[in-house]
Structure formats: C-alpha cells, structure tokens
Amino acid sequence: MEFNVLIGGEAGQGLFSVELGLTEILSRLNYYFFATKNYMSRIRGGHNFHMIRISEEPVHALSGRQWDMVIALDEETEGRHRPDLSDDGIYLSRELTKGIEKEARETFQDIRHANTMLVGCVLAVIGVSPDRVTEGAEDETAKYLRTGFDYAHRSSLAGKYPLQLMAGDHCKFDGNQAIALGALLGGCQFMAGYPMTPATSIMHYFSTAALTMPVHFEQAEDEISAINMALGASYAGVRSMVATSGGGFALMQEGVSLSGMTETPVVIVLGQRPGPATGLPTRTEQGELNLVLHAGHGEFPRVIFAPGSIDEAIALARKSFALADRYQIPVFILTDQYFADSIQIMHDDIPKECLSREYPVFDSTYKRYTLTEDGISPLTYPGLSNARVRLDSDEHDEEGKITEDLGLRVRMVDKRLKKFAMLARDFMPPTFYGDRNAASVIVCWGSNKLIVKEALEKIMEDGQSAAALHFGQVYPLTAAMVAPYGLEAKRLICVENNARGQFAGLLKRELGLSVAHPVLKYNGECFTVSELYYILKKLLT
C-alpha cells in the first residue's frame, strides 16, 4: 500500500512548509516516504508543486502513478494535475482550500496556519490518530494540526488511505544535507561559496554548522574567488570545499586547473541543473558530466563521484576529502537539483567519526614537489616548521620554483599523471542489481540509482530477467570496475537525464562499451518509476 499526494500552488504560499511539516511528522511516526518538488525560478507567484509518496515499503523515487490526493492552492493545479488524479482520489479544490484558509484566518487570525492544517488533514487521510499527529508538537502547532485533522473527519476523508508505520527508526535527509554531513565527517572545515540553485543549501547547512563547530563558511564575491579561497585554505592546512552549479562551476574552472597544477586537494560539489547558460535554474539535469570531465585546462588527474542515495552521498562526500588529500587532486561530487531537493529516509548507521588531515613535520630541506616513485610528494603546510611550502601555478621544480627546464617539465607531467595508475586500483565499485545472467544491463549514474532500482524490481516481479548497474564513481572508469559483470557480452541500456547520452559516451571512450539503447530525459524533470518501468520493459522484451 502506498499513498501519493501532490500539493500545487504559487511560490510564496508556503507549499514547502507543508512538505517540511509533513515529512517531519512522517519521519517521527516511522513512515516510509519520499518527497520531492518541482518549482519555478521565482519567489512569488507561478506554479510550484510538491510531491510526497508515503508507503508501507521503502520508497526512494516518484512512483509516477496517479495521485491519490491533489491539494490545489492555486487555480492552475486543477488543469495541470487533476487529470492525473486517480478515479477515487481525493481532490481538495481551490475552493475547498480557500475554505481552510478562511477557517485559519477566523480561528487563528493567521492564514499561514492553513498550511499546518493541511498537514493534519493529510495525516488523517493516511489513518494517523489525532493523538499521534500532535505527539511531540508544540501546543500551538498541535492546535492547527488537530483543526486540520477535524477538517478531514468532517469531510469524510480520514482513514481513506490507511497506511501502516513500517519504517522503524531512521534519519531523514535531503541530498544536500547528506553532502554537507558527509563533508563534515570527511574533516572539511572550510567552505567558500556564492549562492546558486541547487547548491545553496549545502552552504546553508555548512554555515549553520559553523555556529557550533570548528568550521568556517565564507560567502565569496564570485565563484572564482570561492574556489581560490578554498585552495588557499587547503594550502594553509585545512580541508576545504566549494559547491555550485554549472554556471558557477564554469567560472571556477581555472581554479580546478590550479588545484591540478599545484597539487592542492579540494572537493568541488556541482549540483547540476539544465543549461546552457542560465537554462532552467530550478529544474534537474545530468548535463554537466562532460564539463566536469574536461574542466580546467591542461592534463591532470581527478576523481568524479555521483552519489545515487543518501547513504552513498554521505559516504562518498566523506571519502572525497581523504582521497583529495591522498592523491593531492581535485575531487568532484556531481549531483543534481532532483537529488539535492529530494527528502529520503535512511536506516544505515551514520559513521560519526570525523576524518582529519595529517600534519607531518619536515626540516628546511623539504621540497613540496619531491619526485617520487608513485608521483605523490609529501604534503605539509606552512608554519609547522622551518620547511618552506612553495606552490606555483607555473611549471615548477621540486622546490616549487618557476622553471622552463623542459626536461623537468616532462618529469613533472609524468609525476602528476602517475596518480592515474594508483587511482585505477583505488575505486568505488559500481552497484549491481538484479540477475547476473540477464542478457541486458541497464546502466545509470548519479541520482537515477534508486529510480532505476525500483523500476527494475517491478520488471523482475513480472517474471522478467533483468539487471542494472549504477556508477557512484563515474571517473576514472576502469576495466577492473566492471570486470565482474561481463558487460561486453551484454546489451546495454543507459538511463540519463541529458540529451546526448554523456555517460554512454564515456563508457565508449574509457571502456570501449557501446550502449545499444540510450534512455534520455531532458525536460528538466526526473524520471518516475512507472515511466522507466514502461520504457525499460519495452526495451527488454
């Protein structure tokens, strides 16, 4: 059993507070749920909608089935979403929600409490008892919730879609919270950034953490400054990160190259949204894989992660900082608006131990770019001893002094590129789902992981053999990563949120694997489970 509700309205009406209020209580009550949103790039007006899926089983994606309930806080919801309401679904028309607003105004002298009443109403629909609804809520909030609950009873909506509380103890996160937490666990203590959707909330979480923890957030004048500040902090000895979206990242690229040349560790989070240029600022896409793969002039190693679940986001963000330090390279975390803005629950224990830098001390003979067998020079920071730490964006000698010795140039390039060989052994393997013997493998990366997984499970429930492979590390891609799956003998279907199949292109280039069927979506929205189910089922039959 599951229950899918959509709340549509204008920006500024408090739709998000309904989503937050509802998911907060759902989480407290141990419901399985998934919530995401579709919003416009404006502060007031327009048409936004929030979608919440509540279930008796784990859910990590939009089902794509018809809505069980549609709540209209504007006129547009009627035409846009009512056609997708199931035959016996509940429709709270604009007329009805105006009635709720009127009640809020008359009873509580504040129209805004209508949003909390709506939360109470939805909870009543899924059969939560009024005592449970108000449990733990402040007195005032409890009053509004109960009024919403009474409304549902009066309207004979209460208990129409009863759901069991099956989830047990868990945490709830949106994608950006997971990244911010992972960064803190990775020992990241410095972040600089310039606000840009959908990455801004990472900065928000980080600056809030800075109130109580030994971390610093600096709002930069632009993204160029942000990445250079982060590199300065990293050079000075503090693990650092930046977060941005495509346009901001385009500005950061020279800084990425500086990280590559000076071998300064940094972690870069890129929350993708549809481009080019300003594109669709608040919608989703996976169109920046190629940008990140090629970002920064010159040749230097990098790692690109693209987490597909909350636990993976925490783990990969945490690991990114260790990896950036170990190889003295830029490490990327590629997410998107869909992942950033979706709220999911997770059961896995969160590792609470924070990683930290090491601070080796050297004497005055220290050379920042000592040529070594594996290309990795000892890393330390200024002021710890009489060792001078010299970094140079020019080609440099072992001491970090500018050089135009072309023989040395070759040795330094080789030194930097040697790290690729180590990275080829130190990878995050992809996640495999389904039947090892299936003739076809559905390949995906980043935020599509759990949408593909659920679609795959539905296909398998139909008795069909199927398999999927999700890449949480998208670069480097090495033969060892895919060796267990015999992909060269399989028919590959690649699911991506972009128009040109960028990951399929990477598979071809790096591993010589050809994708037979790209499944691409680039209208700014995420895939839904049923959408993928129908497309994949057809391709697999």
Binding site: K172, P214, C354
Partner: protein
C-alpha cells in the same frame, strides 16, 4: 644564493629594489620567517615570492587576494602578504580587490604598480595614464585610470599607503608599517617599468613624488590627497585608521570536529534526525 640574473626581470626593473627591501624588512618584523606566507598572481611582479625565503602560493592571474583570504581565514596565526602587479590586483582581480577590503582581515596587499602590462609586452593596465599610446591602444588610452588609493580608502581599508621603488629607506619604513598594521593594508608601490613604460620613468616619478610627513587620519582629507596625481604625487601613509576593527577569526586549524559535534548537528538544525 640567488643571482640577479636568475630573476626574470629586466635589468633596471623597479622590482629589484622592492625585492631587496623585502629581503631586509621581513627578518626585522619579529615574526618568524616560517610564519610568513606570500600569495601572488601572474605577471612580472607576481614572481616576487620566488626570490624571497618565504612560504608562498603563486596562483592564477588576478587571484592573489582570494588565496590570501582563504589562507588567513584558515590560519590567522600566519602573516599573509598578497603581492602582485597593477594588472593582477586592480584589473583581472579588481573585484577581489574591492571585496577583500570589505572582509576586514589582517592582510597586507602590496602592488607593484608600473602602469603598464610588462609580461605581455606593453599594453594598457588599469592605471595607465590617459592618451598613452601602445600596441593595443594605438590611438591612445581612452580610459580613466583606476585610483587604487582612493578606491581602497572609500572601500574602508584602514591602512592605505604609496611608496616609490627608488626611495628604499622610505619604502622599507612604509612596508614594515603596513605588515605590522592590524588590518587590511594596501601599499601601492610606484615601480618603473624600464622596458615598456617610457613615460612614468624613474626620472618622471622622482620629479613628482612628495612625502607625507605623518599618516592622514581624516578620511576625507585622505581622499583629497589620494586624488593628487600628475604634477604632484603623494607618497607615504595616505590614510591610517587605528580604530578600525579587524574581523575575529575562529580557530579551525587542527581543531578536530568531534563526534559530539556531529551528534549535536544530527539533533539540531543541520540534519533532522528521528
């Protein structure tokens, strides 16, 4: 021991006397040399830290200042000096120049200002005088020159000075004062480019510079003085405001994030936990 010919500057370059002065003044600061960090951008001036016994991060063109900000915020215990030319600090990095001042950090900004692009061979810089002809402005520079002194004062920099590369004693005194000053300090150093700037030469500058006896403390008086250029060019501490407060920086370096911190985060606002 570094020889002059190992340095990438033209014979007679104004950067040589600046280097000599820095080499002398840094050990006199009663700051351990290990705790001094230079940042620089790109250009002839930006090579300066390579020729000094200091820690440095020689970064990208125009970006010496954000590097300095990052270093200072991460390590307030370090003495941070951003060194670059007029093209780097005022042109490519002009936005950073404005906003670095706003951050109220104890950073010293030294600019080798030769009013010309040296490393790219003689184009206009942000401080090139009007009507000056060069390869990319064959009809003469049509832009108003940027006034770094006035700009820094109006942005709220608490220590703004100018010196002249051929007056070593004065330069040494000013740079020392700037580094020891607690707060953002700018020293714009008039540094003749002997190869590409045939107008603002040592001789031209010598005839025009005059010393300000003591730091000007009145901001509007200072701006008026900063406006002087042409026949009379003021050098010295053009503005000094000891009442300006530096931003307090929390210590984060080698302060580990503790498990309790994460637990608290999970309980409080960052991550809502069941």
């Amino acid at each position: 021991m570094l020889k002059r010919t190992d340095m990438a500057w033209c014979p007679g370059c104004g950067d040589f006397p600046i280097r000599d002065v820095l080499e002398k003044v840094l050990p006199e600061l009663s700051i351990p040399m290990k705790d001094i960090v230079f940042t620089s951008g790109i250009g002839q001036a930006a090579k300066m830290p390579h020729y000094l016994d200091v820690n440095y991060m020689n970064g990208l063109h125009g970006r010496a200042l954000p590097l300095a900000v990052g270093i200072k915020l991460a390590r307030p215990d370090l003495t941070v000096i951003a060194y670059s030319g007029d093209g780097c600090n005022y042109g490519e990095g002009g936005n950073h120049f404005i906003h670095t001042i706003r951050r109220r950090l104890d950073i010293t900004i030294l600019t080798s200002n030769n009013q010309v692009y040296g490393l790219t061979k003689g184009q206009s810089s942000p401080t090139t005088d009007p009507s000056v002809k060069n390869d990319l402005s064959p009809a003469g520079n049509e832009n108003i020159p940027l006034n770094p002194i006035a700009l820094a004062i109006t942005m709220g920099a608490p220590f703004v000075a100018r010196c002249f590369a051929s007056d070593r004693d004065h330069m040494k005194e000013i740079i020392k004062e700037a580094i020891l000053f607690k707060g953002t300090a700018l020293v714009d150093i008039l540094q003749p480019c002997v190869t590409f700037n045939k107008i603002n030469t040592y001789q031209w500058l010598k005839e025009r510079v005059f010393k300000i006896d003591k730091p000007i403390e009145d901001r509007y008086e200072a701006i008026k003085t900063a406006e002087l250029w042409g026949d009379r060019i003021p050098i010295g501490v053009i503005y000094r405001n000891d009442a300006a407060l530096c931003r307090e920086i929390k210590k984060i370096f080698r302060e580990r994030i503790r498990e309790e911190d994460i637990e608290n985060q999970l309980d409080l606002r960052c991550v809502m936990m069941r």
